[in-house]
């Protein structure tokens, strides 16, 4: 009932705040500045992407995206309020203005982009959906899962891909869908399901929550494309640009070798691309409502994309995920940013 009321209130809130929006509301950036804090929609707890640590500080790749936005605006990565959202509440929270930006391992799909009143700004993590099973079942491929019970979280693309995959491969299955990730993984752990499915990155993160993580394996199949990225309401193109370019700034910084450690030195670089990026030449930051040194702020406080990746999901983390598709385009990956010029 509580959940239901939450949804009901969100729905009503939507109707009400929507009316506020139509009356020429100030831009999102102006609101954020006035509030002096960024409201960032985050995961309720997914290691590597968005999770509060023992001290209550939020950590993760998605979290650092929000910190980078805050750094660019306020020169302070801590001016962010993280609002944990479950899969099924996240878009309503964004629509209703509860959060300024949603960075919560959300898949960019056509429906979400075109009919929810939101837009995705890019892809900060290329992912795909996978399965995890108990080792003792002796399963080596997802194709052998006919007749299995599968636990998943509702309100996700996961739920839909699962149905597609089993239908396409003519396999039978039973789906058990839960509203929260905690309940999903607990039910799987309790033996309610043979398999657990979510984004591959999420599989590794959720596996850490099991009583005996080593008793479980991730199957080799990746059954979908899950481009995960931030989204904003689609009535403020200025804000859309700002959020989008924060990501591009971090990619460009990595590509040009600008790091947390060397950014001050790089300010002296004669390379015109670096000069434009760091604002020693031109005033590109101002075109999106920021200061010319916006990228310096981001890199100083958060780092470039590669640094953030390695720290949160790569070798510097428990997940140890390889760069793979998320490598720079120059290194065979998919991460590519338009130039600052």
């Amino acid at each position: 009932m509580k959940k239901f009321f939450a949804a009901a209130i969100a729905g009503l809130g939507l109707a009400v705040t929507a009316s506020a929006a139509s009356a020429q509301a100030p831009s999102t950036l102006a609101q954020v500045k006035q509030r002096n804090i960024l409201n960032c929609g985050s995961n309720t707890g997914l290691a590597g992407f968005g999770v509060p640590d023992a001290q209550g500080n939020w950590q993760g790749l998605d979290v650092e995206y929000c910190r980078a936005i805050a750094a660019a605006i306020f020169n302070d990565p801590n001016k962010v309020k993280f609002i944990p959202l479950s899969a099924k509440d996240r878009f309503t929270a964004l629509q209703s203005g509860e959060v300024d930006v949603l960075v919560r391992n959300s898949t960019w799909t056509m429906t979400r982009d075109a009919s929810l009143g939101i837009v995705f700004t890019g892809v900060n993590y290329y992912d795909g959906q996978g399965f995890m099973v108990r080792k003792k079942l002796g399963v080596t491929s997802a194709k052998q899962l006919s007749g299995a019970s599968v636990c998943t979280q509702q309100g996700t693309t996961t739920e839909l891909n699962l149905a597609d995959y089993f239908r396409a491969n003519n396999l039978k299955y039973e789906v058990v869908a839960f509203a929260s990730s905690d309940e999903t993984i607990k039910a799987y752990d309790a033996g309610r399901c043979d398999a657990f499915t979510t984004d591959a990155s999420g599989l590794y993160a959720e596996r850490l929550k099991l009583t005996a993580p080593d008793d479980h394996i991730v199957l080799p199949e990746i059954i979908s494309k899950e481009p995960l990225g931030p989204s904003v309401r689609n009535n403020d193109s200025g804000w859309f640009n700002l959020v989008k370019w924060v990501h591009y700034a971090m990619i460009n910084a990595e590509e040009l070798g600008v790091t947390k450690a060397n950014v001050d030195e790089m300010l002296k670089s004669p390379n015109p691309e670096i000069k434009r990026l760091l604002g020693t030449e031109g005033k590109f930051g101002e075109t999106i409502g920021l200061t010319p040194d916006w990228v310096v702020r981001i890199v100083k406080h958060v780092g470039n994309y590669g640094e953030s990746f390695e720290k949160n999901v790569g070798q510097g983390s428990l997940l140890k995920i390889a760069r793979g598709q998320n490598g720079l385009w120059t290194k065979g990956g998919l991460q590519y940013a338009p130039p600052v010029r």
């Binding site: 009932m1 509580k2 959940k3 239901f4 949804a7 009901a8 969100a10 729905g11 009503l12 939507l14 109707a15 929507a18 009316s19 929006a21 139509s22 899969a87 099924k88 878009f91 309503t92 629509q95 429906t111 979400r112 009919s115 929810l116 009143g117 079942l137 052998q144 899962l145 006919s146 007749g147 299995a148 019970s149 509702q154 309100g155 996700t156 739920e159 839909l160 699962l162 149905a163 597609d164 239908r167 039978k172 299955y173 039973e174 789906v175 058990v176 869908a177 839960f178 509203a179 929260s180 309940e183 999903t184 039910a187 309790a190 033996g191 309610r192 043979d194 309401r233 689609n234 009535n235």
Partner: protein, 397 residues
């Protein structure tokens, strides 16, 4: 001395404006108009703004393909070809299923505990009291988590099912039973059942009349049972046993085939039943205590034993007090069933305001429909309980 002119004492002769009845109507119409206007302007405002925010609106999504699956479904539903509208019905039926069974079970349990609390048996009365206090003072959500774990944890996995007699298996995927497959001739059995039921009712009425007239009692229970079981059974054999069973078979992961009762359903049902029964027990106790002691004493004086006294004298009078709060407990149970979402039981809220809302993004429409459904269920339940209440009230003089 002044005489009051007779006309002024005549009511209704004054202007219509001052007629209290007409005024009453006018106010009500005015209120309705205001409420109507508010609803209309809120709705059109919402539609307008959804459009401005480029959020899809309207009910067109109802016929769009759903693309997801649901495990427990009372009507055919699958990711291939079913629509969001059908998903709505799947969820609604699951809500009605757990609510209606929960209402029946909690009534029985509640009456039992309520009566037990008043029992002269000290242990029984104290046990009932502890039950009521514990159950009523813990949050239902917590109890649901408890039951879900209590159902899941001790049961073996699907490969080591507990085999019960009659090809029934129990494991942490639920209770799997033979699934009855009805042949076409089975219709005759159903018809026979209804005929038997009618016959039983007719006999009951006749025997009551007979008893009133002559005082002779008939074994109503036995005859009813005999009719309702016997007649369909005879027809069943005459029709050549048009019933077979689809037996559960061990598959690689799960038992396949058969009829499955899911652990989520069981946990939710136990949770709702035990919780609501705690409240019903108190309602029943209050109702019984409201019946004056003289009634019991009079019944005893007439030579009635404790059982019949309770059944024939106390409870019928207590019902008057019991029914209104009982109704609100039924409504609570139905609404509480939406906590299903926490343990993955696909009720209306889980399927519709959970998955459908999220996949379509149409929060306003989906939430509005869901609220309308709960309102309707509540109103219909109240209506039936009010009718029942009226009938019970008539018994009193």
């Amino acid at each position: 001395m002044t005489t009051i002119p007779t006309e002024t004492r005549q009511p209704g002769k004054a202007s219509l404006l001052y007629d209290p009845k007409i005024r009453g109507y006018a106010y009500q119409i005015l209120l309705l108009a205001v409420v109507g206007f508010l609803v209309w302007s809120a709705a059109s405002n919402a539609i307008e703004n959804l459009r401005a925010q480029k959020i899809a609106s309207g009910f067109g999504f109802w016929h769009n393909a759903a693309g997801f699956d649901v495990n427990q479904k009372l009507i055919p539903f699958s990711a291939s070809g079913s629509t969001y509208g059908q998903a709505f019905y799947v969820g609604l039926l699951n809500t009605l299923l757990v609510a209606s069974i929960g209402i029946v079970l909690s009534t029985f349990l509640g009456f039992f505990v309520g009566v037990a609390r008043l029992s002269s048996n000290w242990v029984l009365a104290k046990l009932a009291m502890i039950y009521v206090e514990v159950i009523r003072n813990l949050p239902l959500l917590l109890q649901l988590f408890f039951w879900y774990n209590a159902v899941l944890k001790p049961l073996p996995d699907a490969r080591n099912s507990i085999a019960l007699p009659g090809s029934i298996f129990l494991n942490n995927r639920g209770l799997i039973m033979p699934n009855p497959q009805f042949g076409p001739a089975f219709q005759a059995v159903v018809v026979a059942f209804f005929l038997a039921a009618f016959a039983a009712i007719a006999f009951y009425i006749w025997s009551k009349r007979q008893q009133e007239r002559t005082g002779k009692q008939y074994p109503n229970g036995l005859i009813t049972l005999g009719l309702i079981l016997g007649l369909p059974l005879i027809v069943y054999f005459l029709a050549g046993q048009p019933l077979s069973f689809d037996l559960p078979q061990q598959g690689r992961f799960n038992l396949t085939g058969g009829l499955q009762i899911y652990p989520e359903f069981v946990a939710l049902l136990i949770g709702l039943t035990t919780y609501t029964a705690g409240f019903i027990a108190e309602v029943v106790r209050a109702g019984i205590l409201a019946v004056s002691k003289g009634q019991t004493e009079a019944a005893n004086a007439l030579g009635l034993r404790a059982g019949p006294t309770l059944k024939l004298v106390v409870i019928p009078q207590a019902m008057r007090v019991i029914i209104p709060p009982l109704t609100s407990n039924y409504l609570n149970l139905t609404k509480n069933s939406s906590l299903a979402v926490a343990i993955g039981y696909p009720d209306l809220v889980q399927v519709f305001t959970g998955t459908v809302l999220n996949q379509t993004g149409q929060a306003v429409e989906v939430v509005a429909i869901t609220m309308a459904v709960y309102l309707t269920i509540s109103l219909v339940t109240s209506l039936f309980m009010n009718i029942y209440n009226k009938r019970m009230a008539l018994v009193e003089r």
